[in-house]
């Protein structure tokens, strides 16, 4: 390839990285944490489900029938049951839905949701509202916050999803240009010289993470772009072209859980049998939710969503409602012919490493951290080369200011994520009656902004990094003793409390904290970008 073309691609690679690098770090870092968001962090953040649960299908069936007597008869368009401790639910949720059959004239949706304690089956809460309001006052915990922040930066649809989707595309563009411009790819696959200066450390680190992780980063970029852009661009565009803009019709055609044609003949719906079958379907699969369509009708159908199991993607189990008989198991896009349906089904698990158990999640988290470090090391490399160039494009102080912005933004998001853990413990285990969402959102964004301001104001960037790392380490180390003190849950009573997941989370955070403290002690960058700008 001509050297002029390579030079142009190098310029594109540099500027795409410099412009999107900070945001890409933020999304990739929170993504690496979000891999363990559900169920591990969800269980850690929810005291009521820290001890492993065994749900009783008969009791759930009784509850569905009992509360069906208390809701208006038009609220049987669908009945949803959310299993606690698997996805976002921490209580057993039973939801009776009315889908407002006059949507074209603004007919309302209505939902009545009952929250039950998953052990005693006592009613905890009742909500009556439309769908939008039901989720508008959702009480976020650390798991929900980080998972949703990764998905749309809490900017909602369409802005947040567009941003994260476009970041997936820029990641792919950076990978393609990076591979083309890196001409010594085979000769430098195992080159890492950490003791020969900061510049070589960053240079080799960037190349090693880029070369070895190229397929993984590409996978994350592609699936991330799809998951971000599907709902806001791809589905509306496809509906506009082929369905006269009717998105519901398109979704119904593509997804494999059709609405049954009701017989208008009364027949009691069997719920316990299908639930029992789903709970025991496969040793590695877990039921996340169940949906009953046509409750009380002879043609009622029960769909149960499963994750895990022998195949990579989630499955839906279909049961005949009146008899409770198992009909079939299929993927969400089972209706789509050929490999396309499978590709659509594996998008989500491939992105989040949500298949094959905890070890796969560990691999995905470590590689996700390398995806986060890739733009950061790229920016550091750009700063090093810019400052040390014979004809720098900008003044040294401009490079140093930009470096401080990078430190504040990227280091700040790490500090803010670490701060959420002790905050969550204070919310769960103190009787201070603190406002949940305000504290979670406030502590995250305020600490992040403070870190940016601190980094921009501080003279010594190297010292700022050292102290940000130490603060993060201190926050993570504090989680385990704080949890033991406030909740009484610790390693020594593990077999009594059976809090296996939450104690494991405590110890992993403790280990990461110790590692960060050790790294902070060794942090001595010999780089102009990190030099103190204080005038003596």
């Amino acid at each position: 390839m001509k050297s002029l073309t390579i030079k142009k691609l190098y310029t594109i690679h540099s500027w795409v990285g410099v412009i999107t690098g900070i945001l890409l770090f933020v999304v990739a870092f929170t993504g690496a944490v979000a891999v363990f968001g559900r169920p591990e962090l969800k269980i850690w953040a929810s005291p009521e489900i820290r001890t492993p649960l065994t749900l009783d299908p008969i009791r759930i069936e009784q509850l569905v029938h009992e509360y069906a007597q208390k809701v208006p008869a038009n609220h049987f368009d669908a009945i949803s049951i959310s299993v606690p401790g698997v996805r976002s639910a921490s209580a057993l949720l039973i939801r009776y839905e009315y889908h407002g059959h006059d949507h074209e004239n603004g007919g309302p949706d209505s939902v009545i949701q009952y929250d039950f304690d998953p052990r005693s089956y006592q009613l905890l809460n009742e909500k009556r509202s439309d769908f939008e309001s039901l989720f508008a006052d959702w009480q976020y915990d650390v798991a929900d916050f980080i998972v949703n922040f990764h998905a749309d930066l809490h900017l909602g649809r369409p802005v947040g999803l567009l941003i994260t989707g476009l970041l997936g595309l820029t990641l792919m563009a950076s990978l393609v240009t990076g591979v083309i411009i890196h001409r010594k790819i085979l000769r430098q696959m195992f080159t890492f010289r950490p003791f020969k200066g900061f510049s070589l450390l960053v240079n080799d680190g960037h190349k090693v993470m880029g070369i070895w992780g190229v397929v993984f980063h590409g996978l994350i970029g592609f699936t991330g772009a799809f998951l971000g852009l599907a709902l806001v661009i791809l589905v509306p565009a496809a509906a506009y072209v082929s369905y006269q803009g009717d998105m519901d019709a398109l979704i119904e055609d593509f997804t494999a859980a059709p609405e049954p044609v009701l017989a208008q003949v009364d027949a009691p719906t069997q719920i316990a049998g299908p639930l029992r079958h789903a709970f025991n379907f496969h040793p590695d699969s877990v039921a996340t939710s169940t949906r009953i369509v046509g409750y009380g009708d002879q043609n009622a159908v029960i769909y149960t969503n499963m994750i895990g199991g022998p195949q990579m993607y989630g499955q839906t189990l279909e049961y005949q409602g009146a008899s409770g008989e198992f009909v079939q198991a299929f993927g969400n896009f089972g209706k789509v012919d050929g490999v396309s349906g499978i590709i659509l089904d594996i998008m989500f698990p491939a992105h989040f490493g949500n298949f094959g158990g905890v070890l796969v999640k560990i691999v995905w988290t470590l590689l996700g951290l390398s995806t986060a470090l890739l733009p950061l090391s790229g920016i550091m490399l750009w700063l090093e080369r810019g400052i040390n160039s014979a004809n720098p494009k900008f003044r040294v102080t401009t490079y140093q200011r930009f470096n401080r912005l990078v430190i504040g933004s990227c280091g700040g998001v790490v500090v803010a994520c670490a701060l959420l853990f002790p905050i969550q413990l204070l919310l769960n285990f103190t009787s201070l009656n603190l406002p949940n969402n305000q504290l979670i959102f406030g502590s995250f964004f305020v600490s992040w902004v403070l870190c940016i301001v601190w980094a921009l104001m501080a003279f010594d960037a190297a010292l700022t990094v050292k102290w940000m790392t130490r603060i993060t380490a201190g926050l993570l180390i504090s989680v385990m003793p704080l949890d033991a003190l406030l909740s009484g849950s610790h390693l020594f009573n593990l077999f009594t409390t059976q809090h296996f997941v939450s104690v494991a989370v405590d110890w992993v955070l403790f280990a990461i904290g110790c590692l960060l403290w050790w790294l902070s002690a060794r942090w001595q960058p010999r780089s102009v970008a990190f030099q103190s700008t204080k005038i003596h």
Binding site: L186, R187, Q188, M189, F190, T191, F192, R193, P194, F195, V208, M209, I211, W212, G213, V214, V215, F216, L219, D284, P310, Q311, M312, I342, I346, A350, G353, F355, G356, G357, V358, L359, V360, V363, W364, L366, L367, S370
Partner: protein, 78 residues
């Protein structure tokens, strides 16, 4: 089961990449590749046999990325 298989295959891949490491780059001669090939094939076969073609392929992508990176992060002499 997948966890145990993954641990074994990660170890096999690490050995393979250590065999393929040559002066900061990847080996160009035939001999290191002949030694490493059984480990690479065994790791892929193990992952596909235990978890199926699709899951195994994705596991292999992740495993190669991670173990390659770890092998490459061993400081080189050059």
């Amino acid at each position: 089961m997948i966890g145990l298989m993954l641990l074994v295959s990660l170890l096999l891949l690490f050995i393979a990449f250590c065999l393929l490491r040559e002066e900061g780059g990847i080996a160009r001669g035939l001999k290191p590749w002949l030694f490493a090939a059984p480990f690479l094939i065994a790791a892929l076969a193990l992952q596909i046999c235990v978890s199926g073609t699709i899951t195994g392929s994705f596991l292999f992508i992740g495993s190669v990325s991670m173990m390659g990176m770890i092998a490459a992060f061993i400081p080189s002499e050059r």
